[in-house]
């Protein structure tokens, strides 16, 4: 019996005498959210990150449908990075600067943490 993982005995799709209805039914409306950015032909945006003194340039970018989507990515990015860095690090703000595929700066998203203590610390009421 030729087992499927032998060298050249893989069995693909219908050639394997599988009934067509072995395949699960698609089109139940969930899958459109999966990998929406994976189509070519969309503009590419680059998201550079500034955290306090550090600057990290984005060399890869993301294909996004339009500038509204780029703004959402920048905002989520700033918030996500801020969540990690701001409470524990030295930086007080995180900025995401978005460039279009021509290298032009198109928008900025900034998340800032402000910490203020009452000084002097109030003692127990007399």
């Amino acid at each position: 019996m030729a087992l499927p993982w032998g060298q050249a005995t893989f069995c693909h799709g219908l050639g394997c005498a599988e009934q067509p209805d072995e395949r699960p039914s698609f089109g139940r409306g969930i899958e459109t959210a999966i990998a929406p950015w994976h189509s070519q032909g969309m503009p590419r945006y680059y998201f550079d990150v500034r955290e306090g003194d550090r600057f990290i340039q984005d060399d890869l970018g993301l294909n996004l449908p339009d500038i509204d989507a780029a703004e959402r990515e920048a905002a989520e990015g700033a918030a996500s990075i801020g969540r990690d860095l701001l409470p524990t690090g030295n930086a007080r703000s995180v900025t995401v600067e978005a460039r279009n595929e021509h290298g032009q700066h198109v928008l900025t998203a900034t998340v800032t943490l402000a910490l203020d203590r009452v000084n002097p610390e109030p003692g127990p009421p007399v």
Partner: protein
């Protein structure tokens, strides 16, 4: 898929087991079976089906009549909110039964999707019932495999809940490297990596921009390189420390036949 269409996993590193069935290779390290038991499992894995990248193997709400065992390619378990936000619960490679729970739970509560072109073996539920009723050791082996899956989910909860971005990505990379190693799918320190940044974001609960920035940090620290759909680990100890990765939760046997590969034993220390 744009940059990450990968056809097949890389060549296997040696044929240590008599069977090439990736499920058996994996079980060797979790719950070794006798030759007869292995042959029996082999015999129910002969019906195969192929999927394209981004196709769904099973959908949330389905009542499948087969379990899907990955023979080639990579899949992920996922679910999407009403607002279209996707969470990936796990990645699955050759040797993984992606929906063993459907055998007992009957109705899927999540979707299993192909990240690459995939080939799966279909194991009919009726066959599973037959085998597990007459061969309790095989039942326990599959049970243990499912329990290890649960342990992996718990680590992923740590990832999404408590680790910072750097730790999350490093941990995930370590885990996937070890999983690939167990089924003989590593090429030195390199593994196939069809996982896009968006997939990583959905798996770790980070934003896309944050994943991108964190990958650059990992590269800058010379822990990994990631290009042409391959992950190369440059510094295993460094990556383990960065991710606080302790492979204990994978419950791999470190003695006996399973550890004929000294490299794996060393990897797990």
């Amino acid at each position: 898929m744009a940059e990450s269409s990968v056809a097949l996993p890389p060549e296997r590193t040696g044929a240590l087991l008599s069977s090439q069935n990736p499920l058996l290779r994996k079980l060797e390290h979790i719950f070794p079976l006798t030759g007869e038991e292995q042959a029996l499992l082999d015999s129910v894995c002969t019906r195969t089906l192929s999927f394209e990248a981004d196709e769904h193997l099973v959908l949330d709400g389905d009542r499948p009549t087969n379990c899907n065992l990955v023979l080639q390619g990579m899949t992920c378990r996922n679910h999407v909110t009403a607002g279209g936000k996707r969470q990936i619960f796990s990645f699955h490679i050759p040797g993984d039964i992606v929906d063993a729970e459907s055998f007992l739970l009957k109705k899927m509560d999540h979707t299993v999707s192909a990240l690459t072109p995939c080939t799966v073996a279909l194991i009919a539920h009726s066959k599973m019932t037959e085998i597990t009723e007459h061969h309790p050791r095989i039942a326990r082996a599959i049970w243990k495999d499912t329990l290890v899956d649960a342990a992996i989910f718990r680590e992923w909860i740590m990832n999404v809940g408590r680790r910072n971005a750097y730790q999350r990505l490093a941990h995930l990379m370590c885990e996937l490297y070890v999983k690939h190693h167990v089924v003989g799918l590593v090429d030195g320190w390199s593994i196939s990596w069809p996982i896009t940044q968006v997939d990583l974001a959905d798996a770790t609960g980070l934003s896309n921009v944050h994943v991108n920035r964190t990958l650059m940090e990992l590269r800058a620290a010379r822990l990994i390189t990631l290009e042409k759909s391959r992950l190369d680990i440059l510094n295993w100890q460094g990556l383990k420390e960065a991710g606080e990765f302790d492979p204990e939760y994978l419950h791999l046997k470190t003695d006996g036949e399973a550890m004929r590969l000294p490299a794996l034993r060393q990897l797990l220390q």
